[in-house]
Amino acid sequence: MTQPTMTLPPAVIGRPAAPPAALTAAAQVAIRVLRKFVRTPGLWAMGIVQSALFLFAFRYVFGGAAHVPGSSYVDYLVPGYVATIVLFTGGGIAVAVADDRAQGLTDRLLSLPIPRLALVLGRASADFATNVWSILFTAAAGFLFGFRLVDGAAHALGALGLCLVYGVVFTVVFMVIGLFAPNAQAAQGMSMIAFVLAFISSTYVPVATMPGWLQAFARYQPITPMVDAVHAQLAGSTSDVALALAWSAALLLVFTPIAVLRYRRA
Protein backbone atom coordinates (compact mmCIF):
# COMPACT_ATOMS: atom_id res chain seq x y z
CA MET A 1 0.00 0.00 0.00
CA THR A 2 1.30 3.44 -0.77
CA GLN A 3 1.43 5.71 2.19
CA PRO A 4 -1.82 7.64 2.20
CA THR A 5 -1.42 11.36 2.55
CA MET A 6 -3.43 12.33 5.55
CA THR A 7 -4.79 15.46 6.98
CA LEU A 8 -5.81 15.90 10.55
CA PRO A 9 -9.12 14.00 10.91
CA PRO A 10 -10.66 16.46 13.38
CA ALA A 11 -10.07 19.24 10.88
CA VAL A 12 -11.71 17.33 8.03
CA ILE A 13 -14.44 15.52 9.88
CA GLY A 14 -15.29 17.98 12.59
CA ARG A 15 -16.18 16.96 16.08
CA PRO A 16 -19.85 16.31 16.84
CA ALA A 17 -21.34 19.18 18.81
CA ALA A 18 -22.87 16.85 21.40
CA PRO A 19 -23.27 13.15 22.09
CA PRO A 20 -26.27 11.58 20.34
CA ALA A 21 -29.74 11.71 21.89
CA ALA A 22 -30.61 8.48 23.69
CA LEU A 23 -33.30 7.53 21.16
CA THR A 24 -31.02 8.19 18.17
CA ALA A 25 -28.38 5.99 19.73
CA ALA A 26 -30.90 3.27 20.53
CA ALA A 27 -32.19 3.35 16.95
CA GLN A 28 -28.66 2.91 15.56
CA VAL A 29 -28.01 -0.02 17.87
CA ALA A 30 -31.34 -1.58 16.90
CA ILE A 31 -30.75 -1.12 13.17
CA ARG A 32 -27.47 -2.97 13.42
CA VAL A 33 -29.04 -5.92 15.25
CA LEU A 34 -31.86 -6.11 12.71
CA ARG A 35 -29.54 -5.86 9.73
CA LYS A 36 -27.51 -8.74 11.10
CA PHE A 37 -30.69 -10.77 11.65
CA VAL A 38 -32.15 -10.12 8.22
CA ARG A 39 -28.85 -10.68 6.43
CA THR A 40 -28.02 -13.95 8.16
CA PRO A 41 -30.35 -16.71 6.95
CA GLY A 42 -29.10 -18.91 9.79
CA LEU A 43 -30.73 -16.44 12.17
CA TRP A 44 -34.07 -15.63 10.59
CA ALA A 45 -34.70 -18.98 8.89
CA MET A 46 -33.35 -21.62 11.25
CA GLY A 47 -35.47 -20.59 14.22
CA ILE A 48 -38.73 -20.67 12.33
CA VAL A 49 -37.92 -23.85 10.43
CA GLN A 50 -37.22 -25.59 13.75
CA SER A 51 -40.36 -24.14 15.21
CA ALA A 52 -42.45 -25.45 12.32
CA LEU A 53 -40.80 -28.89 12.42
CA PHE A 54 -41.38 -29.33 16.15
CA LEU A 55 -44.96 -28.18 15.81
CA PHE A 56 -45.38 -30.67 12.98
CA ALA A 57 -43.97 -33.46 15.16
CA PHE A 58 -46.16 -32.66 18.15
CA ARG A 59 -49.25 -32.22 16.01
CA TYR A 60 -48.92 -35.26 13.72
CA VAL A 61 -46.47 -37.64 15.47
CA PHE A 62 -47.27 -37.39 19.19
CA GLY A 63 -50.65 -35.74 18.70
CA GLY A 64 -52.45 -38.95 17.82
CA ALA A 65 -51.64 -40.47 21.20
CA ALA A 66 -52.32 -37.34 23.22
CA HIS A 67 -55.85 -36.85 24.43
CA VAL A 68 -56.91 -33.73 26.25
CA PRO A 69 -60.33 -33.24 27.74
CA GLY A 70 -62.70 -30.85 26.00
CA SER A 71 -60.85 -30.16 22.75
CA SER A 72 -58.87 -31.68 19.92
CA TYR A 73 -55.11 -31.90 20.58
CA VAL A 74 -54.23 -29.40 17.86
CA ASP A 75 -56.53 -26.80 19.40
CA TYR A 76 -54.96 -27.47 22.81
CA LEU A 77 -51.37 -27.48 21.57
CA VAL A 78 -51.09 -24.50 19.24
CA PRO A 79 -51.91 -21.58 21.61
CA GLY A 80 -49.38 -22.70 24.22
CA TYR A 81 -46.83 -23.56 21.56
CA VAL A 82 -47.09 -20.05 20.08
CA ALA A 83 -46.98 -18.46 23.54
CA THR A 84 -43.75 -20.28 24.44
CA ILE A 85 -41.99 -20.33 21.08
CA VAL A 86 -39.71 -17.49 22.18
CA LEU A 87 -38.30 -19.83 24.83
CA PHE A 88 -36.87 -21.87 21.96
CA THR A 89 -35.99 -19.22 19.38
CA GLY A 90 -34.85 -16.67 22.00
CA GLY A 91 -31.66 -18.63 22.58
CA GLY A 92 -30.43 -16.84 19.47
CA ILE A 93 -30.62 -13.55 21.37
CA ALA A 94 -28.38 -14.89 24.14
CA VAL A 95 -25.93 -16.19 21.56
CA ALA A 96 -25.84 -12.85 19.71
CA VAL A 97 -25.31 -10.87 22.91
CA ALA A 98 -22.51 -13.19 24.06
CA ASP A 99 -20.96 -13.08 20.61
CA ASP A 100 -20.94 -9.27 20.51
CA ARG A 101 -19.06 -9.26 23.79
CA ALA A 102 -16.57 -11.88 22.65
CA GLN A 103 -15.98 -10.10 19.32
CA GLY A 104 -15.31 -6.70 20.87
CA LEU A 105 -18.41 -5.03 19.41
CA THR A 106 -19.81 -4.43 22.87
CA ASP A 107 -16.53 -2.77 23.92
CA ARG A 108 -16.70 -0.50 20.90
CA LEU A 109 -20.27 0.52 21.77
CA LEU A 110 -19.40 1.03 25.43
CA SER A 111 -16.49 3.28 24.49
CA LEU A 112 -18.81 5.62 22.57
CA PRO A 113 -20.53 8.58 24.22
CA ILE A 114 -23.96 6.97 24.45
CA PRO A 115 -26.09 6.24 27.51
CA ARG A 116 -25.96 2.61 28.65
CA LEU A 117 -29.74 2.59 28.72
CA ALA A 118 -29.82 3.41 24.99
CA LEU A 119 -27.66 0.39 24.35
CA VAL A 120 -30.01 -1.90 26.25
CA LEU A 121 -33.12 -0.29 24.78
CA GLY A 122 -31.85 -0.53 21.18
CA ARG A 123 -30.71 -4.09 21.58
CA ALA A 124 -33.94 -5.15 23.32
CA SER A 125 -36.21 -3.47 20.74
CA ALA A 126 -34.50 -5.20 17.86
CA ASP A 127 -34.40 -8.55 19.62
CA PHE A 128 -38.08 -8.15 20.46
CA ALA A 129 -38.76 -7.61 16.76
CA THR A 130 -37.05 -10.93 16.01
CA ASN A 131 -39.27 -12.55 18.64
CA VAL A 132 -42.36 -11.07 16.98
CA TRP A 133 -41.21 -12.67 13.74
CA SER A 134 -41.04 -16.09 15.46
CA ILE A 135 -44.43 -15.64 17.13
CA LEU A 136 -46.23 -14.59 13.94
CA PHE A 137 -44.62 -17.31 11.85
CA THR A 138 -45.40 -19.99 14.42
CA ALA A 139 -49.01 -18.83 14.67
CA ALA A 140 -49.30 -19.06 10.89
CA ALA A 141 -47.84 -22.57 10.97
CA GLY A 142 -50.40 -23.45 13.65
CA PHE A 143 -53.25 -22.48 11.37
CA LEU A 144 -51.63 -24.40 8.52
CA PHE A 145 -51.48 -27.54 10.66
CA GLY A 146 -55.17 -27.41 11.47
CA PHE A 147 -55.64 -25.00 14.38
CA ARG A 148 -58.96 -23.11 14.21
CA LEU A 149 -60.30 -20.25 16.28
CA VAL A 150 -63.52 -21.29 17.97
CA ASP A 151 -64.48 -17.96 19.40
CA GLY A 152 -63.77 -15.24 16.85
CA ALA A 153 -60.85 -13.03 15.93
CA ALA A 154 -61.33 -10.38 18.62
CA HIS A 155 -60.34 -12.78 21.36
CA ALA A 156 -57.45 -14.01 19.25
CA LEU A 157 -56.01 -10.49 19.31
CA GLY A 158 -56.02 -10.52 23.11
CA ALA A 159 -54.20 -13.85 23.05
CA LEU A 160 -51.66 -12.53 20.54
CA GLY A 161 -51.14 -9.46 22.72
CA LEU A 162 -50.25 -11.72 25.63
CA CYS A 163 -47.79 -13.64 23.45
CA LEU A 164 -46.13 -10.34 22.54
CA VAL A 165 -45.85 -9.37 26.20
CA TYR A 166 -44.10 -12.68 26.84
CA GLY A 167 -41.90 -11.85 23.85
CA VAL A 168 -40.73 -8.68 25.64
CA VAL A 169 -40.16 -10.51 28.91
CA PHE A 170 -38.05 -13.29 27.41
CA THR A 171 -36.09 -10.87 25.23
CA VAL A 172 -34.70 -9.35 28.41
CA VAL A 173 -34.23 -12.75 30.09
CA PHE A 174 -32.20 -14.05 27.15
CA MET A 175 -30.19 -10.82 26.98
CA VAL A 176 -29.18 -11.36 30.59
CA ILE A 177 -28.23 -14.97 29.83
CA GLY A 178 -26.06 -13.72 26.96
CA LEU A 179 -24.46 -11.09 29.18
CA PHE A 180 -23.44 -13.68 31.76
CA ALA A 181 -22.30 -16.37 29.31
CA PRO A 182 -18.54 -16.36 28.71
CA ASN A 183 -19.01 -17.16 25.02
CA ALA A 184 -21.58 -18.01 22.37
CA GLN A 185 -21.48 -21.77 22.97
CA ALA A 186 -22.07 -21.30 26.67
CA ALA A 187 -24.96 -18.95 25.90
CA GLN A 188 -26.48 -21.64 23.71
CA GLY A 189 -26.16 -24.19 26.49
CA MET A 190 -27.51 -21.89 29.18
CA SER A 191 -30.52 -21.11 27.00
CA MET A 192 -31.52 -24.78 27.13
CA ILE A 193 -32.82 -24.17 30.65
CA ALA A 194 -35.75 -22.48 28.98
CA PHE A 195 -36.69 -25.75 27.25
CA VAL A 196 -37.22 -27.39 30.63
CA LEU A 197 -39.56 -24.60 31.71
CA ALA A 198 -41.57 -24.99 28.51
CA PHE A 199 -41.79 -28.79 28.68
CA ILE A 200 -42.73 -28.98 32.36
CA SER A 201 -45.72 -26.69 31.95
CA SER A 202 -49.23 -26.83 30.57
CA THR A 203 -47.89 -26.09 27.06
CA TYR A 204 -47.98 -29.63 25.65
CA VAL A 205 -50.20 -31.58 28.04
CA PRO A 206 -52.51 -30.57 30.90
CA VAL A 207 -50.64 -30.37 34.20
CA ALA A 208 -53.17 -32.75 35.79
CA THR A 209 -51.82 -35.64 33.70
CA MET A 210 -48.34 -35.33 35.26
CA PRO A 211 -47.19 -37.21 38.40
CA GLY A 212 -48.06 -35.36 41.57
CA TRP A 213 -44.54 -34.31 42.51
CA LEU A 214 -44.02 -32.78 39.08
CA GLN A 215 -47.39 -31.01 39.13
CA ALA A 216 -46.19 -28.90 42.05
CA PHE A 217 -43.39 -27.47 39.89
CA ALA A 218 -45.44 -27.26 36.70
CA ARG A 219 -48.28 -25.41 38.37
CA TYR A 220 -46.23 -22.76 40.14
CA GLN A 221 -43.67 -21.84 37.52
CA PRO A 222 -44.47 -18.82 35.33
CA ILE A 223 -44.98 -20.59 32.02
CA THR A 224 -48.13 -22.47 33.06
CA PRO A 225 -50.18 -19.38 33.98
CA MET A 226 -48.83 -17.64 30.88
CA VAL A 227 -50.05 -20.47 28.66
CA ASP A 228 -53.33 -20.85 30.57
CA ALA A 229 -54.01 -17.13 30.16
CA VAL A 230 -53.65 -17.45 26.38
CA HIS A 231 -56.08 -20.39 26.36
CA ALA A 232 -58.48 -18.36 28.48
CA GLN A 233 -58.28 -15.33 26.19
CA LEU A 234 -59.08 -17.46 23.16
CA ALA A 235 -62.16 -18.73 24.97
CA GLY A 236 -63.21 -15.21 25.86
CA SER A 237 -62.27 -15.50 29.53
CA THR A 238 -59.79 -13.48 31.57
CA SER A 239 -58.89 -16.19 34.05
CA ASP A 240 -55.15 -16.42 34.74
CA VAL A 241 -54.52 -13.22 32.72
CA ALA A 242 -53.79 -11.15 35.82
CA LEU A 243 -51.43 -13.83 37.15
CA ALA A 244 -49.65 -14.10 33.79
CA LEU A 245 -49.19 -10.33 33.61
CA ALA A 246 -48.01 -10.23 37.21
CA TRP A 247 -45.37 -12.86 36.42
CA SER A 248 -44.36 -10.88 33.32
CA ALA A 249 -44.01 -7.67 35.30
CA ALA A 250 -42.04 -9.44 38.02
CA LEU A 251 -39.62 -11.02 35.54
CA LEU A 252 -39.11 -7.68 33.79
CA LEU A 253 -38.53 -5.90 37.10
CA VAL A 254 -35.88 -8.42 38.04
CA PHE A 255 -34.11 -8.88 34.71
CA THR A 256 -34.13 -5.34 33.24
CA PRO A 257 -31.95 -3.81 35.99
CA ILE A 258 -29.61 -6.80 35.76
CA ALA A 259 -29.25 -6.22 32.00
CA VAL A 260 -28.57 -2.49 32.43
CA LEU A 261 -26.10 -2.99 35.27
CA ARG A 262 -24.33 -5.78 33.48
CA TYR A 263 -23.94 -3.68 30.33
CA ARG A 264 -22.56 -0.86 32.44
CA ARG A 265 -19.65 -3.03 33.48
CA ALA A 266 -19.51 -5.46 30.58
Binding site: Q3, V12, Q28, R35, L110, L112, P113
Partner: protein, 337 residues
Protein backbone atom coordinates in the same frame (compact mmCIF):
# COMPACT_ATOMS: atom_id res chain seq x y z
CA UNK B 1 -7.04 22.89 23.13
CA UNK B 2 -4.67 23.80 25.92
CA UNK B 3 -1.14 22.45 25.77
CA UNK B 4 -0.99 22.44 29.55
CA UNK B 5 -3.46 19.58 29.84
CA UNK B 6 -1.59 16.28 29.60
CA UNK B 7 -2.91 13.60 27.30
CA UNK B 8 -2.82 11.01 30.05
CA UNK B 9 -2.22 11.28 33.74
CA UNK B 10 -2.26 8.03 35.69
CA UNK B 11 -1.34 8.04 39.31
CA UNK B 12 -1.25 4.88 41.39
CA UNK B 13 -3.78 3.36 39.01
CA UNK B 14 -4.88 -0.02 40.29
CA UNK B 15 -7.30 -2.39 38.57
CA UNK B 16 -8.26 -5.77 39.95
CA UNK B 17 -10.27 -8.61 38.46
CA UNK B 18 -11.22 -10.75 41.40
CA UNK B 19 -7.94 -11.84 42.94
CA UNK B 20 -5.85 -10.85 39.93
CA UNK B 21 -4.25 -7.43 40.08
CA UNK B 22 -3.90 -6.32 36.46
CA UNK B 23 -2.60 -2.83 37.17
CA UNK B 24 -0.70 -2.33 40.38
CA UNK B 25 -0.08 1.31 41.09
CA UNK B 26 0.58 2.31 37.49
CA UNK B 27 2.01 5.81 37.07
CA UNK B 28 2.27 7.67 33.79
CA UNK B 29 2.20 11.23 32.55
CA UNK B 30 2.13 11.72 28.79
CA UNK B 31 1.88 14.95 26.88
CA UNK B 32 -0.10 15.57 23.73
CA UNK B 33 1.19 15.41 20.19
CA UNK B 34 2.82 12.02 20.24
CA UNK B 35 2.53 8.39 19.45
CA UNK B 36 2.88 6.51 22.70
CA UNK B 37 3.48 2.78 22.77
CA UNK B 38 2.85 0.61 25.80
CA UNK B 39 5.14 -2.35 25.44
CA UNK B 40 4.98 -5.50 27.49
CA UNK B 41 4.39 -9.23 27.46
CA UNK B 42 0.96 -10.83 27.54
CA UNK B 43 -0.59 -10.41 30.96
CA UNK B 44 1.51 -7.39 31.88
CA UNK B 45 -1.49 -5.08 32.03
CA UNK B 46 -1.35 -3.33 28.64
CA UNK B 47 -4.89 -4.12 27.60
CA UNK B 48 -6.21 -3.32 31.05
CA UNK B 49 -4.64 0.13 30.85
CA UNK B 50 -6.26 0.79 27.47
CA UNK B 51 -9.59 -0.44 28.81
CA UNK B 52 -9.23 1.88 31.80
CA UNK B 53 -8.56 4.84 29.48
CA UNK B 54 -11.59 3.79 27.41
CA UNK B 55 -13.74 3.81 30.60
CA UNK B 56 -14.43 0.09 30.23
CA UNK B 57 -13.03 -0.94 33.59
CA UNK B 58 -13.49 0.74 36.91
CA UNK B 59 -10.21 1.33 38.77
CA UNK B 60 -10.00 -0.03 42.31
CA UNK B 61 -7.60 2.73 43.25
CA UNK B 62 -5.61 5.69 42.02
CA UNK B 63 -6.68 8.23 39.44
CA UNK B 64 -6.67 8.41 35.68
CA UNK B 65 -7.29 11.55 33.69
CA UNK B 66 -7.65 11.67 29.92
CA UNK B 67 -7.12 15.16 28.50
CA UNK B 68 -8.04 16.45 31.92
CA UNK B 69 -11.25 14.43 32.33
CA UNK B 70 -11.42 11.94 35.16
CA UNK B 71 -12.42 8.49 33.86
CA UNK B 72 -14.42 7.69 36.97
CA UNK B 73 -15.98 11.12 37.47
CA UNK B 74 -16.87 12.09 33.91
CA UNK B 75 -16.74 9.03 31.65
CA UNK B 76 -18.96 10.59 28.96
CA UNK B 77 -16.49 13.46 28.51
CA UNK B 78 -13.68 10.92 28.19
CA UNK B 79 -15.63 8.88 25.64
CA UNK B 80 -16.10 11.97 23.50
CA UNK B 81 -12.32 12.41 23.31
CA UNK B 82 -11.35 8.84 22.46
CA UNK B 83 -11.67 6.34 19.64
CA UNK B 84 -11.05 2.70 20.49
CA UNK B 85 -9.85 0.02 18.10
CA UNK B 86 -9.37 -3.25 19.83
CA UNK B 87 -7.52 -6.51 19.57
CA UNK B 88 -10.52 -7.86 17.72
CA UNK B 89 -11.72 -6.08 14.65
CA UNK B 90 -14.97 -4.85 16.16
CA UNK B 91 -16.95 -4.30 13.01
CA UNK B 92 -20.27 -5.89 12.11
CA UNK B 93 -19.43 -8.50 9.46
CA UNK B 94 -22.90 -8.51 7.90
CA UNK B 95 -22.76 -4.76 7.27
CA UNK B 96 -20.71 -3.00 4.61
CA UNK B 97 -17.71 -0.91 5.52
CA UNK B 98 -19.66 2.24 4.75
CA UNK B 99 -22.62 1.15 6.90
CA UNK B 100 -20.32 0.33 9.79
CA UNK B 101 -18.66 3.72 9.64
CA UNK B 102 -21.93 5.63 9.30
CA UNK B 103 -23.41 3.78 12.27
CA UNK B 104 -20.40 4.55 14.45
CA UNK B 105 -20.41 8.18 13.32
CA UNK B 106 -24.06 8.51 14.36
CA UNK B 107 -23.21 6.97 17.71
CA UNK B 108 -20.45 9.56 18.18
CA UNK B 109 -23.17 12.18 17.80
CA UNK B 110 -22.94 13.19 14.14
CA UNK B 111 -26.20 13.96 12.37
CA UNK B 112 -27.07 11.94 9.31
CA UNK B 113 -25.34 14.12 6.75
CA UNK B 114 -22.25 14.76 8.84
CA UNK B 115 -22.06 11.02 9.51
CA UNK B 116 -22.08 10.25 5.80
CA UNK B 117 -19.36 12.86 5.28
CA UNK B 118 -17.25 11.50 8.12
CA UNK B 119 -17.58 7.95 6.78
CA UNK B 120 -16.57 9.03 3.27
CA UNK B 121 -13.58 10.96 4.63
CA UNK B 122 -12.35 7.99 6.64
CA UNK B 123 -12.76 5.64 3.69
CA UNK B 124 -10.53 7.93 1.62
CA UNK B 125 -8.10 8.35 4.48
CA UNK B 126 -7.62 4.62 4.93
CA UNK B 127 -7.72 3.71 1.28
CA UNK B 128 -10.82 1.53 1.64
CA UNK B 129 -12.74 2.93 -1.33
CA UNK B 130 -12.57 -0.28 -3.33
CA UNK B 131 -14.26 -2.36 -0.62
CA UNK B 132 -16.46 0.21 1.14
CA UNK B 133 -19.64 -1.17 -0.42
CA UNK B 134 -18.88 -4.78 0.41
CA UNK B 135 -19.89 -6.63 3.54
CA UNK B 136 -17.03 -6.78 6.02
CA UNK B 137 -17.26 -10.57 6.19
CA UNK B 138 -15.51 -10.56 2.80
CA UNK B 139 -12.61 -8.34 3.94
CA UNK B 140 -9.03 -9.49 4.39
CA UNK B 141 -7.58 -9.30 7.90
CA UNK B 142 -5.78 -6.07 7.09
CA UNK B 143 -8.84 -4.45 5.52
CA UNK B 144 -10.92 -5.35 8.55
CA UNK B 145 -8.34 -3.97 10.91
CA UNK B 146 -8.14 -0.75 8.91
CA UNK B 147 -11.92 -0.44 8.94
CA UNK B 148 -11.88 -0.98 12.69
CA UNK B 149 -9.32 1.80 12.89
CA UNK B 150 -11.60 3.92 10.70
CA UNK B 151 -14.57 3.31 12.97
CA UNK B 152 -12.58 4.73 15.85
CA UNK B 153 -11.85 7.85 13.78
CA UNK B 154 -15.27 8.95 12.55
CA UNK B 155 -15.92 10.88 15.76
CA UNK B 156 -12.70 12.83 15.18
CA UNK B 157 -11.29 11.76 18.53
CA UNK B 158 -8.33 13.56 20.05
CA UNK B 159 -6.93 10.30 21.36
CA UNK B 160 -6.85 7.10 19.38
CA UNK B 161 -6.52 3.91 21.45
CA UNK B 162 -5.13 0.94 19.58
CA UNK B 163 -4.94 -2.28 21.52
CA UNK B 164 -2.49 -4.60 19.78
CA UNK B 165 -3.50 -3.26 16.37
CA UNK B 166 -1.52 -5.82 14.36
CA UNK B 167 -1.71 -8.95 16.49
CA UNK B 168 -2.47 -11.92 14.27
CA UNK B 169 -1.96 -10.05 11.01
CA UNK B 170 0.31 -11.24 8.24
CA UNK B 171 3.35 -9.04 7.45
CA UNK B 172 1.70 -7.29 4.50
CA UNK B 173 -1.42 -6.39 6.47
CA UNK B 174 0.74 -5.31 9.37
CA UNK B 175 2.57 -2.84 7.16
CA UNK B 176 -0.77 -1.52 5.87
CA UNK B 177 -1.92 -0.82 9.40
CA UNK B 178 1.42 0.71 10.34
CA UNK B 179 1.26 3.06 7.38
CA UNK B 180 -2.23 4.15 8.38
CA UNK B 181 -1.31 4.69 12.03
CA UNK B 182 1.84 6.59 11.11
CA UNK B 183 -0.15 8.80 8.77
CA UNK B 184 -2.70 9.59 11.47
CA UNK B 185 -0.04 10.39 14.03
CA UNK B 186 1.81 12.62 11.57
CA UNK B 187 -1.47 14.39 10.89
CA UNK B 188 -1.71 15.22 14.57
CA UNK B 189 -3.89 12.60 16.22
CA UNK B 190 -2.60 11.49 19.60
CA UNK B 191 -2.14 7.74 19.55
CA UNK B 192 -1.78 5.29 22.39
CA UNK B 193 -1.01 1.80 21.22
CA UNK B 194 -0.15 -1.40 23.00
CA UNK B 195 2.07 -4.01 21.49
CA UNK B 196 4.28 -6.89 22.41
CA UNK B 197 6.35 -6.42 19.28
CA UNK B 198 9.45 -4.36 19.89
CA UNK B 199 9.64 -3.91 16.14
CA UNK B 200 6.21 -2.30 16.13
CA UNK B 201 7.11 0.17 18.85
CA UNK B 202 10.29 0.84 16.92
CA UNK B 203 8.42 1.54 13.69
CA UNK B 204 5.76 3.78 15.14
CA UNK B 205 6.35 5.23 18.56
CA UNK B 206 7.92 8.47 19.78
CA UNK B 207 7.55 7.52 23.41
CA UNK B 208 7.56 4.06 24.93
CA UNK B 209 6.34 2.84 28.27
CA UNK B 210 7.46 -0.63 29.26
CA UNK B 211 5.06 -2.37 31.55
CA UNK B 212 5.53 -5.51 33.58
CA UNK B 213 3.35 -7.00 36.31
CA UNK B 214 1.01 -4.03 36.17
CA UNK B 215 3.68 -1.39 36.73
CA UNK B 216 5.65 0.89 34.45
CA UNK B 217 9.25 -0.31 34.59
CA UNK B 218 10.67 2.16 32.08
CA UNK B 219 9.36 5.14 30.17
CA UNK B 220 10.77 7.74 27.89
CA UNK B 221 11.53 8.77 24.34
CA UNK B 222 12.28 5.75 22.22
CA UNK B 223 15.78 6.93 21.30
CA UNK B 224 16.69 7.29 24.96
CA UNK B 225 15.41 3.83 25.88
CA UNK B 226 17.18 2.33 22.93
CA UNK B 227 20.50 3.79 24.05
CA UNK B 228 20.07 1.97 27.33
CA UNK B 229 18.43 -1.27 26.42
CA UNK B 230 18.28 -1.53 22.67
CA UNK B 231 21.83 -2.66 21.94
CA UNK B 232 22.37 -4.84 18.92
CA UNK B 233 22.92 -8.55 19.20
CA UNK B 234 25.37 -10.56 17.15
CA UNK B 235 24.29 -14.13 16.65
CA UNK B 236 26.40 -16.94 15.18
CA UNK B 237 25.21 -20.34 14.09
CA UNK B 238 28.05 -22.83 13.65
CA UNK B 239 27.94 -25.63 11.09
CA UNK B 240 29.70 -28.08 13.41
CA UNK B 241 28.37 -28.30 16.97
CA UNK B 242 31.86 -29.01 18.33
CA UNK B 243 33.00 -25.54 17.31
CA UNK B 244 30.40 -23.74 19.41
CA UNK B 245 32.77 -23.10 22.36
CA UNK B 246 35.35 -21.63 20.00
CA UNK B 247 32.72 -19.34 18.48
CA UNK B 248 31.60 -18.24 21.93
CA UNK B 249 35.18 -17.45 22.83
CA UNK B 250 35.55 -15.23 19.79
CA UNK B 251 32.33 -13.37 20.63
CA UNK B 252 33.53 -12.87 24.16
CA UNK B 253 36.99 -11.70 23.07
CA UNK B 254 35.63 -9.15 20.60
CA UNK B 255 32.80 -7.66 22.68
CA UNK B 256 34.03 -8.20 26.19
CA UNK B 257 30.62 -9.52 27.30
CA UNK B 258 29.47 -12.98 28.25
CA UNK B 259 27.86 -14.70 25.24
CA UNK B 260 24.67 -16.79 25.51
CA UNK B 261 25.15 -20.25 24.09
CA UNK B 262 22.29 -22.42 22.88
CA UNK B 263 23.73 -25.88 22.01
CA UNK B 264 20.33 -27.15 20.78
CA UNK B 265 20.40 -24.90 17.74
CA UNK B 266 24.21 -24.54 17.59
CA UNK B 267 23.93 -20.84 18.23
CA UNK B 268 25.89 -18.36 20.30
CA UNK B 269 24.82 -14.76 20.67
CA UNK B 270 26.13 -11.72 22.45
CA UNK B 271 24.93 -8.20 23.10
CA UNK B 272 27.22 -5.72 21.50
CA UNK B 273 29.10 -3.93 24.25
CA UNK B 274 28.41 -0.22 23.91
CA UNK B 275 27.11 2.54 21.76
CA UNK B 276 30.71 3.30 20.81
CA UNK B 277 30.99 -0.16 19.29
CA UNK B 278 28.23 -0.39 16.68
CA UNK B 279 26.96 -3.80 15.73
CA UNK B 280 28.35 -3.72 12.20
CA UNK B 281 31.90 -2.86 13.31
CA UNK B 282 31.84 -5.61 15.91
CA UNK B 283 30.51 -8.01 13.32
CA UNK B 284 33.58 -7.47 11.10
CA UNK B 285 35.85 -8.20 14.06
CA UNK B 286 33.86 -11.32 14.92
CA UNK B 287 34.09 -12.60 11.35
CA UNK B 288 37.85 -12.11 11.32
CA UNK B 289 38.12 -13.86 14.68
CA UNK B 290 36.01 -16.81 13.55
CA UNK B 291 38.09 -17.18 10.38
CA UNK B 292 41.25 -17.13 12.49
CA UNK B 293 39.89 -20.00 14.62
CA UNK B 294 38.75 -21.90 11.49
CA UNK B 295 35.16 -21.95 12.74
CA UNK B 296 32.84 -22.79 9.90
CA UNK B 297 29.85 -20.46 10.15
CA UNK B 298 26.34 -21.56 9.16
CA UNK B 299 24.71 -18.22 9.69
CA UNK B 300 25.76 -14.94 11.24
CA UNK B 301 24.11 -11.60 11.66
CA UNK B 302 23.47 -8.47 13.64
CA UNK B 303 19.91 -8.11 14.83
CA UNK B 304 17.83 -5.95 17.10
CA UNK B 305 17.34 -7.41 20.54
CA UNK B 306 14.20 -9.39 21.01
CA UNK B 307 11.66 -8.18 23.53
CA UNK B 308 12.85 -11.09 25.61
CA UNK B 309 16.34 -9.63 25.77
CA UNK B 310 15.04 -6.15 26.54
CA UNK B 311 13.03 -7.58 29.37
CA UNK B 312 15.94 -9.51 30.68
CA UNK B 313 17.90 -6.29 30.81
CA UNK B 314 15.13 -4.25 32.40
CA UNK B 315 13.41 -6.62 34.75
CA UNK B 316 15.83 -9.47 35.28
CA UNK B 317 13.26 -12.00 34.10
CA UNK B 318 12.16 -13.23 30.76
CA UNK B 319 9.13 -11.82 29.00
CA UNK B 320 7.01 -14.88 29.63
CA UNK B 321 3.43 -14.75 30.72
CA UNK B 322 3.05 -13.65 34.30
CA UNK B 323 3.68 -16.40 36.78
CA UNK B 324 5.21 -18.80 34.30
CA UNK B 325 8.65 -20.22 34.79
CA UNK B 326 11.37 -18.60 32.72
CA UNK B 327 12.08 -21.78 30.85
CA UNK B 328 8.51 -22.22 29.68
CA UNK B 329 9.64 -21.72 26.12
CA UNK B 330 7.21 -18.91 25.56
CA UNK B 331 9.88 -16.65 24.17
CA UNK B 332 8.41 -13.68 22.47
CA UNK B 333 10.51 -12.71 19.55
CA UNK B 334 10.67 -9.21 18.22
CA UNK B 335 9.05 -10.15 14.98
CA UNK B 336 8.00 -13.77 15.18
CA UNK B 337 4.62 -14.91 16.37
Amino acid sequence: MSDQVPLLEASGLTVRFGKVTALDGFDLVAGTGQLLAILGPNGAGKTTFVRAVATLVRPAGGTLRVLGHDVAGDPIAVRREIGLAGQFAAVEPTMTGLENLQMTARLFGHRRRAAARAAATVIDLLDLGAVAGRRCATYSGGQRRRLDLGASLVGAPRLLLLDEPTTGLDPVSRREVWAAVRGLAQAGTNVLLTTHYLEEADELADHVVIIDHGRAVAAGPLAELKANIGRDVIEVEVSQPGQLPAAAQVLSAVTGSEPRVDPLVHRASVTVGSASQPGAAALAAVLTGLAGQHVSVGEIGVRRPTLDEVFLTLTGHRAGRQGQPESAGRRLQGSAR
